[in-house]
Symmetry: C2
Subunit: 368 residues, 2 copies
């Protein structure tokens, strides 16, 4: 990353904006002092907050607007009437080349619609995907799509694999990331056709990807895949289910340790361990979904994120914008499209060899 990296911020997006946004940006700048930030929002609210955020005050510019997208606004309304909102203007800064990335904690549907409309998808990508970093026993993986599209064709799933591969290679610093498709494990049911067709595409050695086959929901946290590809409906259900399960277990934990005096004393002594555990379980530590496949970096922070959460969304944006993410994708897309073209010319449908459940013969993938 160069010292001139510029990130634009929708300062009015999210449940606790602009307070959390300012506090999060200040935190972020302690780690990334060279980054320049463009704040889009209400000057009258922002200026007093900057008084107690000296790093941000020195490294940012405020672009005033009265309008903001609310959490309940419909994406269609925002598309038609939202040109003066802080979200629109923050995205526009990326479109105009004034910033390399944009971060918003606002309305997800509106952000998705505006980002697609303003930035357009990268050449060769049919649809953008919402990716998220998923915690595992050891390390992390990227899961996509977690909500940008309800359905995905085999070609779109292959696109997602390339987007995820580039993300894992750059942001997660994985060498030769292992790519898998999320499926179900019943022997009798091999999953939807699109998944099997996508597997056949990704297995093709010409693509040079390290495709390891199908994984199941529990492999998200325990498996070895660095990239897990799914349609946006399934991915969103998995993400929300994991969040709900984590909240349920946190509730059970509090409940269990409030039981007896001895338990409470034990919990008091183990307070440090509890804090460590809470930090790892806290979604705000791995905060930030990212829209992949657009002409520009768009990071969605959790709407209810605290300052640490917003700072980690900025961190993700800085990592992506400062990496070779986009150039990696472009090169791989050329290969994918050439492979698909050749497949069509040879009239050999890719699903022909899609009968195995798991491809354990990991391709000795040639890295780009």
């Amino acid at each position: 990353m160069t010292s001139r990296l510029t990130i634009s911020i929708d300062a009015m997006g999210g449940d606790n904006a602009p307070g959390i946004v300012v506090a999060g940006a200040e935190l972020f700048l302690r780690q990334y002092p060279g980054v320049h930030l463009l704040l889009f929002g209400d000057k009258e609210q922002l200026e007093p907050l900057l008084a107690s955020a000296p790093l941000l005050a020195a490294a940012s510019e405020i672009f005033h607007t009265d309008e903001a997208v609310s959490m309940s606004d419909k994406p269609g309304q925002v598309l038609r009437k939202g040109r003066q909102t802080s979200m629109w203007l923050a995205i526009d800064a990326v479109k105009q080349g004034r910033a390399e990335a944009v971060v918003s904690a606002g309305n997800t549907g509106a952000l998705m619609a505006l980002a697609k409309f303003q930035l357009r998808t990268m050449a060769g990508i049919d649809r953008p995907a919402l990716g998220t970093v998923w915690p595992k026993k050891i390390g992390q993986c990227v899961v996509l799509d977690v909500g940008a599209n309800v359905e995905a064709s085999a070609k779109q799933l292959a696109d997602f694999a390339i987007l995820g591969w580039a993300f894992a290679s750059t942001v997660l610093a994985k060498s030769n990331p292992a790519i898998a498709i999320l499926n179900i494990g019943s022997e009798e049911l091999k999953g939807p056709d699109a998944l099997r067709e996508a597997a056949a595409i990704l297995r093709d050695e010409r693509l040079g990807l390290n495709f390891v086959g199908f994984v199941e929901g529990d492999d998200l946290t325990t498996g070895s895949a660095d990239v897990v590809v799914t349609d946006g409906f399934t991915g969103n259900v998995a993400l929300k289910t994991a969040e709900g399960t984590a909240r349920l277990l946190a509730y059970y934990m509090r409940d269990a340790f409030n039981g007896s005096l001895v338990s409470r004393l034990g919990a008091f002594l183990a307070a440090g361990a509890f804090r460590k555990l809470r930090d790892r379980m806290d979604p705000s530590r791995v905060n930030g979904g990212v829209f992949l496949g657009l002409n520009g970096v768009v990071v969605k922070s959790h709407g209810g994120a605290d300052d640490t959460g917003f700072a980690s969304a900025l961190d993700l944006a800085a990592n992506l914008a400062g990496s070779e993410f986009s150039s990696k994708i472009s090169e791989s897309l050329v290969r994918l499209n050439s492979q698909l073209d050749q497949g069509q010319q040879a009239d050999s449908a890719p699903e022909n060899d899609a009968d195995g459940d798991i491809n354990t013969g990991i391709t000795a993938a040639q890295r780009i």
Copy 2:
């Protein structure tokens, strides 16, 4: 439940069969002393085990067979060649009316295939669903389908709602269970058409169901629905994701409390709380998927269940078999089919009013 309830058991199914099966059945009989059990499996392995399971020895009959379905057998093979397996014979006991329910911890795909083939679906139900009891902050809900079908049409989702309603009414003892459909929350994307069509069917007051609209993945554990309906692909991914998340957090917890001497001392003092927590997090405590919609009760115990887990699968089987589950379903199916027929005659497609995201106008449902 009458004292003459009979349950047939595939004694050779599961990773730790028949040892765990015998131990689990013995545990179960302490709670349900009047139940009669038919054990299908290898007499030479079972008889010595019964020596240390006096309740089971007194309340069971062994039906010897040399053959068993292995975890790696393909369902198709078992259908063609498996007529002498313990799984087939145990299901056959239900078909022949010699038992009210069957329990197996064996190969899920094979159990599903054999159960469908041998018992057939109930009149009016297109496809059976695999249901599971899901833990919540307060109480439980039933989620279905979690893996019996990859896809589900609107009519099949409506069938699942009725199956789930009958399950929640009887086994979970919910009065007027709240029924929801699992969907994603993005405003822009209202989810697949089949979900909206199913919602329109379930919203119809003639059906008399308490349909509360769409819920998201995190509502499975935190929401108020008693029945959550989904297709088998999505439901299976959600179930496995929840299991993986629980395992990840248990791992984080062990890791956190092993950190310092003080943490370990605290954990030692709080050992009772840990046990309580582990019990609630333990999947074997809520063990047992159930195939709903067949002519007979078929319960799938987790393949890796311990004796407590297998006992709770037997518990579920006894509850279902002893309840009015089947008669409740039959009555509701008559209503559903009559409603769908009328809808077709009036040429008013049910999706006409399916534009809302959540139907908060809960029907004052008339219980059957």
